[in-house]
């Protein structure tokens, strides 16, 4: 039998679908239908919808150890974040166990690898739950965290997100918390920085259409920037299976529009090449972005062009908070004197530490106990800032730091502090 054109067409379509399904896209997966970041009046913590309550009480700790799971992108695109997040969580657990654990009972941290993909994050979460974990830490990206939250909902296991900033994450249920700020803060911060501090009025935005994170951040940036009186034109690209690293099409259009700034809401993996190619195409305006830029790999792919770019971050190694100094001392002792390469080291530590703190305060040693204790967290002194979760719908009011990218110095630092923002700095 010779293949007819029908079989050809069939194989074509099926490979594309197969390819797309197997590789996914960075943040892809199901995006929740509730989108109302800006349409309804916000309540405390930024979320608007009524958060569903998990239908079950969740498991109790069984066996000799208390099992806590973490889903991390230790392979794939977000590997630099995933590894730091895991190392941070591990550090917090070791510290807790060294201090005697919970009345002598040790905490066991189990790692699940999401390979930076939402479908595998779901699988990893389910595997961890079947191993009897009573709390989950992760993920560094919103697309993956949404999948974790969906899986953990029915079992009532709390999920403490490390770096998932998408605004509507909390709508997944009352079991979802995070230790980072959300995009409805990050977007306005960058908008205000661009408008007031960098004096920009006409900004081109490039959104990665295959990342829920990028879509959400662009939306909140655009809304805030337009409210301030600026003009925005949004452009789209895709980083997923059908993606292409040649951005000359978007950049030619942007160049023709003569913007005075460029806002890139995607991840460092795409931002580096975009900025590199933008400079080559003769676009010399300031470039800005969100916390998705935070990995020193952006220096390799962005080249000289990325130097002088600004992005919004959660904390800075050069910060003089006592918690940061203490954390860096412990981190360096474990990693040959090196600082964490990305912010996820500190956030992974914070997510774990706040969970362990909840475990200590919990009335019962089980998922429900931790969940309630997490909800009662008030003014916890974390590395990346003070965290209050009580009445915040899982979204703490954190501060944000705008940093400038510099060449790497001898100590490996490449982020220069520019300005910090807290919630009250944002003009409503």
């Amino acid at each position: 039998m010779k293949p007819s054109i029908k079989t050809l067409a069939f194989t074509l379509v099926s490979t594309f679908v197969l390819g797309a399904a197997l590789t996914g896209c960075n943040g892809g997966g199901d995006t929740p239908k509730t989108e109302g970041d800006n349409t309804k009046p916000p309540v405390a913590g930024g979320t608007t919808a009524v958060r569903p309550v998990p239908p079950s009480e969740g498991p109790m700790a069984e066996g000799d150890t208390i099992k806590i799971g973490t889903v991390c992108s230790v392979t794939g695109d977000n590997k630099p974040w995933g590894e730091d997040s895991y190392e941070g969580s591990k550090l917090a657990v070791e510290e807790f166990n060294a201090a005697g654990g919970l009345g002598g009972k040790k905490v066991e941290l189990i790692l699940g690898d999401s390979a930076s993909k939402p479908d595998q994050a779901k699988t990893a979460t389910e595997k961890l739950m079947s191993q009897g974990v009573i709390a989950l830490i992760g993920e560094v990206s919103s697309g993956n965290t949404i999948q974790m939250a969906k899986s953990a909902f029915l079992k009532g296991i709390p999920v403490v997100a490390v770096g998932a900033t998408r605004t509507d994450l909390g709508n997944e249920g009352t079991h979802v918390f995070r230790v980072c700020y959300s995009d409805d803060f990050q977007g306005p911060v960058m908008a205000q920085f661009a408008y007031a501090n960098k004096n920009l009025r006409n900004v081109a935005v490039m959104t990665d259409n295959s990342l829920p994170y990028s879509q959400g951040l662009s939306k909140s940036f655009i809304t805030a920037f337009e409210k301030l009186g600026g003009k925005v034109k949004e452009h789209f690209y895709a980083s997923g299976a059908g993606g292409n690293s040649n951005y000359s099409g978007n950049l030619t259009e942007i160049k023709g529009e003569n913007p005075d700034g460029l806002f890139l809401s995607g991840y460092f993996t795409e931002v580096g090449p975009i900025v590199n190619q933008a400079r080559a195409a003769g676009i010399t305006v300031p470039v800005m972005g969100g916390d998705g830029w935070d990995s020193d790999l952006i220096l390799a792919s962005g080249g000289d062009a990325i130097i002088g770019g600004y992005f919004c971050n959660h904390y800075n190694n050069a910060d003089n908070r006592p918690q940061v100094i203490e954390f860096l001392k412990k981190w360096r002792a474990k990693h040959n004197g090196k600082d964490p390469g990305t912010t996820m080291g500190a956030l992974g530590y914070d997510a774990m530490a706040i969970t362990l703190n909840a475990l200590k305060n919990a009335k019962t040693v089980g998922a429900k106990g931790i969940l309630d204790a997490l909800e009662d967290t008030v003014d916890y002194k974390a590395v990346s800032g003070d965290i209050t979760l009580k009445g915040m719908n899982g979204n703490p009011d954190k501060r944000a730091i705008v940093v400038e990218i510099t060449k790497k110095d001898a100590a490996g630092n490449w982020q220069k502090f520019a300005k910090d923002f807290v919630a009250s700095d944002i003009k409503k």
């Binding site: 039998m1 490979t15 590789t23 690293s245 080249g303 300005k419």
Partner: protein
């Protein structure tokens, strides 16, 4: 009407020539990869789904050669050199040839006398195997980038002016420049009095900062006004090199296929497998030859893709997107047909950029498949392929 105004407003003629050239350059890479698909299909009637992964390994080959030559992301790199580029190109082609040899010998040849679906499944399996094994074994799956700006001696752009600026308006704009310069100087003089630095200005500092920004905007706006009608094509020199090498490689391929004994044998095998073997053609060696040729082209494509499109991230899934596009290009042009693959690649490349030009950049990756479906509806054999009625 709302829709029509949007539709018309989106067509900005000044960027059209540039986008067409962008599309051609983009399509050249698709064409180069598509040749591999189409040649293998021609002789073997097998769609080599692992071709994208051969492409990916070629990129790694180029990356490792560049590292070996000292162009690491950190530390001091040697000066840019043409020789390094040539070595990277040859390195990538060599790696791909070796990989293709083993793939053909140990994965496809044992399947040759089995039903064709078995070969197809083998190809898909191999593709996935290389992707996911690569994630573990190739630099632990950390994405890497070739340090193109340190290696390539081809910096800067080739510029072709089609329509100049409005000189009188530019002269008008220049009159605004002194005001901007003055505002910059004034703000600069104020800076030492600002303890908070650039981003925590006092009220007076803020006023001067705003003034500077307003003056700059007024000047730039006037300048943009004067430049509004400028129509020019600007192509990075590296991409000109890319296009030239692609054309040379295609010429070499045409020569090999049309004017050499191997090429004639290749065409014979493609025409009728069994009859060719009866005529004394060594089928195995011809198939291997075809495989290696197609893969070497993929290697060259990979090296150029990762070097001349700056910042391209190399990981084990690199081959996926170009692979799917190139495969589509091959089918579009008529699979098994060599000029068809080139035409298909160029059509797809240009179509993608026209979509971006028209303002529908979200649909950039969808257009290729839309064109494919439409073409296959009217010309089932592809643009240059012949539709045969097949007896089953």
């Amino acid at each position: 009407m709302d829709f029509s105004t949007h539709f018309v407003a989106a067509f900005e003629l000044t960027t059209l020539p540039q986008q067409l050239i962008n599309g051609l350059l983009n399509g050249a890479i698709y064409a180069l990869i598509a040749l591999g698909y189409t040649m293998v299909y021609g002789v073997l009637k097998l769609i080599n789904f692992a071709h994208g992964e051969v492409f990916m390994l070629g990129a790694y080959g180029a990356l490792f050669v560049s590292w070996k030559l000292g162009y690491q992301p950190d530390g001091n790199a040697p000066p840019p050199s043409l020789m390094a580029l040539v070595l990277m190109l040859l390195g990538a082609m060599l790696i791909c040839t070796i990989v293709a040899f083993f793939i053909e010998r140990f994965a496809y040849r044992p399947m040759r006398n089995q039903p064709r679906i078995a070969s197809l499944i083998t190809a898909i399996g191999l593709s996935l195997l290389l992707q996911y094994a690569g994630q573990i074994f190739l630099l632990n799956g950390t994405p890497q980038t070739i340090q193109a700006e340190k290696i390539s001696p081809f910096s800067g752009n080739v510029v072709l002016n089609l329509r100049g600026a409005d000189q009188s308006r530019l002269a008008e704009a220049e009159k605004l420049k002194p005001a901007w310069d003055a505002a910059v100087a004034e703000f600069k003089a104020r800076m030492p009095l600002e303890p908070g630095g650039e981003f925590n200005l006092s009220q007076e500092g803020e006023r001067l900062h705003t003034k500077q920004g307003d003056a700059e905007r007024a000047y730039k706006a006037a300048l943009n006004d004067g430049n509004a009608g400028v129509m020019k094509i600007e192509v990075p020199k590296g991409q000109v090199v890319l296009f030239t090498i692609t054309i040379i490689l295609m010429a070499v391929l045409t020569y090999l296929v049309m004017f050499t004994k191997q090429g004639r044998a290749m065409r014979a095998v493609s025409h009728d497998f069994n009859a060719a073997s009866l005529m004394g053609i060594n089928i195995d060696s011809i198939i291997t030859f075809t495989f290696l040729l197609g893969s070497a082209l993929a290697g060259a494509g990979a090296m150029m893709y990762c070097t001349f499109i700056p910042g391209t991230k190399i990981d084990s899934f690199l081959g996926l997107a170009p692979g799917i596009k190139a495969f589509t290009a091959a089918v579009l042009g008529g699979i098994g047909n060599i000029p068809g693959a080139v035409l298909g690649g160029l059509v797809m490349g240009v179509a993608e950029y026209l979509v971006v030009w028209a303002g529908y950049d979200s649909y950039r990756d969808a257009i290729a498949f839309l064109i494919l479906i439409v073409v296959l509806l009217f010309r089932p054999g592809g643009l240059l392929g012949s539709a045969k009625v097949e007896k089953v």
